[in-house]
């Protein structure tokens, strides 16, 4: 069965030798995003279904609304005096500057810089942080003691091989792991590192894009993801990549090899021109930047535990494809386990405890010496491949509760942005802090923003 599909692919390649289209990708109609304005037709349900139903159009509208959720109206569309649009902005925050990040600045809120190649804008953000940044007037975060610890680790890692600095941020739900990863990312970007950020690693394994089986590597490659990653990587690190060149000859399928000394930007453009080449090009690019020692590299992955879970992809036998058989997760796992490394840099991952479709697997729990909530005795099966991929990971525990000064800064940010519906006094602060037991997400979302009190 497998060889048949491969033969078909080869035949199709011979027929369309000069075409730049992707080889026969196993596309599924539900996985493609409808273009704007395109009406999605509902499949006819036997003799009862009608074509061009209005519900089909409504479905598209609903989806559009879903994507545009939590998008605040621009100030120009709020002329009514009730909105107080002309009121001066009371949220005066200092900018997040790497030089000022010392213990002195602890429990202070700093706003993230906003520019064309901002990693947040280009790479994207985890969903809940995206919503928060849309609600706030400007993206900001509070510097915690654990932030300074992480930054010290990054400073130490900038001269060492990434094999020695593979850190995973752990902690209970809502304690601030993703935010800490964002702060590390911004710090490295400001310090002129090459940064690659995967905000939602669950998207790599939850079967949202098509895959193709690659005979050469005998893995399932994800060309769309690789293409997107290359695009974003290039955009964020454009200035730095212009200074780098390839050091070895790189072979790419169906194409003459790329000679050494080629600018990396050109190599990336090869991958951007043809989506089919993107996975190979991405692997090659990461290898090349791993060899150079001019810029340290940060590989930051949120939802890190999803890389160690079984994916939602199915092969032709309808069995679940393991995550390390998919190209993108495999690449990230290789760097996370130290099998591949950057000459200078670090790999940072943040796990997500609240995801029930991709829960924290046993192999990763053991590697990070975390508490168990399920049977973990010697009779519980562990996958040896995942154990190997999780070997040597370092844990950075994010404290479960905010300290009082940190919580006070968080409170001030939301209060000054006029997002708290209740009267913002110290009683409210202490009440909500006690209710949340110091947990950051519970404090903000279930405490400050969800309740009204006189």
């Amino acid at each position: 069965m497998l060889t048949l599909s491969v033969r078909c692919q080869r035949v199709s390649c011979q027929l369309f030798a000069s075409s730049s289209t992707t080889p026969l990708a196993q596309t599924r109609s539900y996985a493609t995003q409808p273009k704007k304005g395109q009406i999605v037709k509902q499949a006819s349900q036997g003799f009862k279904g009608k074509k061009n139903t209005p519900s089909g159009q409504m479905e598209h509208g609903k989806k559009d609304k879903k994507m545009m959720a939590f998008q605040p109206l621009p100030v120009s569309q709020l002329p009514h005096p009730l909105f107080e649009s002309d009121r001066p902005d009371t949220l005066a925050l200092q900018s997040f500057h790497p030089e000022m990040l010392t213990r002195v600045v602890e429990s202070q809120a700093l706003k993230f810089p906003h520019n064309e190649s901002d990693p947040f804008r280009i790479f994207g953000l985890p969903r809940n942080i995206l919503v928060e940044f849309r609600l706030l007037s400007k993206p900001c975060s509070v510097i915690r003691s654990v932030t300074i610890d992480a930054i010290n680790k990054l400073d130490a890692a900038s001269d060492k091989n990434s094999k020695e600095s593979r850190v995973v941020l752990t902690g209970p739900q809502g304690c601030g792991k993703s935010y800490l990863l964002l702060q590390a990312l911004q710090y490295c970007n400001a310090r002129d590192w090459l940064v690659l950020y995967i905000p939602r690693a669950t998207n790599l394994v939850n079967s949202t894009t098509a895959y193709t089986y690659d005979m050469r590597t005998r893995t399932y490659s994800q060309p769309i993801f690789a293409y997107q990653t290359l695009q974003r990587f290039l955009k964020v690190n454009a200035l730095r990549l212009e200074q780098l060149r390839t050091q070895t000859e790189i072979e790419i399928e169906r194409r003459p090899p790329v000679p050494p000394g080629t600018p990396l930007v050109e190599l990336i453009n090869i991958g951007l021109k043809d989506q089919g080449h993107a996975p190979t090009v991405l692997g090659a690019v990461l290898e090349e930047i791993g060899k150079q020692t001019i810029f340290p590299v940060l590989l930051a992955v949120d939802d890190f535990q999803a890389l160690y879970c079984k994916s939602h992809y199915r092969d032709q036998h309808f069995s679940a494809i393991k995550s390390y058989h998919l190209s993108m997760p495999r690449l990230l796992l290789e760097y996370a386990s130290g099998q591949k490394s950057f000459a200078r840099g670090a790999v940072f991952g943040a796990i997500s405890m609240g995801n029930t479709t991709f829960p924290l697997p046993l192999e990763l729990r053991e590697a990070l010496s975390l508490e168990h909530d399920r049977p973990y005795g010697p009779y519980v099966k562990r996958q040896p491949e995942l154990v190997e991929y999780a070997r040597g990971l370092e844990r950075l525990a994010v404290p479960g509760s905010l300290s009082v000064p940190e919580a006070a800064s968080v409170f001030e940010v939301w209060m000054k942005d006029r997002a708290v519906p209740s009267k913002p006094n110290d009683e409210l602060f202490l009440t909500k802090y006690s209710e949340a037991s110091g947990n950051a997400r519970a404090f903000v979302w279930k405490g400050l923003l969800s309740s009204m009190s006189a």
């Binding site: 006070a408 009440t431 006690s434 209710e435 037991s437 279930k446 969800s450 309740s451």
Partner: protein, 343 residues
């Protein structure tokens, strides 16, 4: 000689008296009688109650009544009896817990009927009243004397009987922790509350003498810009709440339950003053949160009595009597009726 052996009573016998009822016996004929023997045959009864139905009972009763009489004379001599109306009203109302009929019968060594029991209790009550008057007046000797009698007839568990219906005072252990119980629906919570230990005051800052100029400066800045200048280095104490050994936010995910638990502390204004540890069993989330809140309210009222009135007004000290109503026959649920069908 025989003349000397005449009984004593007969010596006063007047032979010429016309009011005698006895037949005349010439004294000479009584000479051969030995009256001493006769005296020995029938001894005099020891108590005046000998010829009653229950001599022991009447003996005891008479001794009690004589004690009462002595107490009365003593108080009268101190001009405390008769007590004017306002003074009687000023005395604390006494609820007495005497032994029951059977016990009293054992003490008095005779089985008692209800009327006899009531008679004894009446005397005891009077004694107790006089004791109260003596106590109030400060006559310690008399009060102790009466107490010595009345405590013989008091129940062993008099204290608990008198405290029935009243709230037991909450006890604190050697670490200053209060232990209270809270209940709601079918949940019950055991709550321990301990004051937050304030960190020892920073000696270095205390020893620094602040010159007058900077004081006014800081005061001025505080006036003009209160928010930014209020960032003092004083640590803010925070209440830690553990329910079944998990933090409050982890045990109660619903914000309403968390707010219910915090509500008594918030009303009392004691946020950050006390740490709370609770073990709760039974029921569901809202029942458990209500039980913990009830326990916390009682504990806080014990720690700070001034706060008890506020909590009582907010009905937080009251055990919520609402329980799940039973299903009735003919109804689908407690109140829900089946669908009405016309035919």
């Amino acid at each position: 000689m025989n003349v000397l052996r005449r009984p004593a009573g007969l010596s006063k016998f007047r032979f010429y008296s016309t009011q005698t009822t006895r037949p005349f016996v010439p004294p000479a004929s009584l000479n051969h009688f030995d009256f001493r023997q006769r005296q020995r045959e029938k001894p005099r009864p020891t108590s005046p109650a000998f010829y009653t139905a229950r001599p022991e009972f009447y003996d005891q009763l008479s001794s009690l009544e004589s004690a009462l009489q002595h107490a009365k004379t003593a108080l009268t001599s101190c001009h405390l009896l008769p007590l004017p109306q306002f003074a009687r009203e000023a005395l604390p109302p006494r609820v007495n817990a005497w032994v029951d009929k059977r016990e009293l019968g054992l003490k008095l060594r005779s089985t008692l009927t209800t009327s006899r029991y009531r008679r004894v209790v009446l005397v005891l009550n009077e004694l107790e009243t006089y004791r109260a008057i003596a106590e109030k007046a400060g006559i310690a000797e008399l009060q102790e004397g009466i107490r010595g009698i009345t405590e013989l007839f008091e129940r062993a568990d008099a204290a608990t009987m008198l405290a029935r219906g009243k709230a037991k005072p909450v006890k604190f252990d050697e670490y200053g922790r209060s232990y209270t119980l809270g209940k709601r629906k079918t949940s019950s919570a055991r709550v321990w509350i301990v004051p937050v230990q304030q960190p020892p005051a920073d000696k270095s800052t205390a020893s620094q003498s602040i010159p007058a100029a900077t004081e006014t400066d800081t005061a001025l800045t505080a006036l003009l810009d209160p928010i930014s200048s209020s960032k003092s280095n004083e640590p803010v104490s925070v209440s830690q709440i553990l329910v079944n050994n998990t933090p409050l936010s982890a045990y109660f995910p619903i914000p309403a339950d968390r707010a219910r638990v915090i509500h008594p502390i918030k009303l009392a204004g004691l946020l950050g003053a006390y740490n709370i540890f609770a073990i709760v069993r039974g029921g569901g989330t809202s029942g458990q949160s209500g039980a913990v809140a009830h326990g916390i309210a009682k504990g806080l009222a014990a720690h700070e009595p001034a706060v008890a009135t506020i909590l009582r007004k907010a009905k937080l000290l009251r055990r919520d009597p609402r329980m799940v109503e039973r299903k009735k026959p003919g109804l689908a649920k407690a109140r829900k009726r089946y669908a009405w069908v016309k035919r």
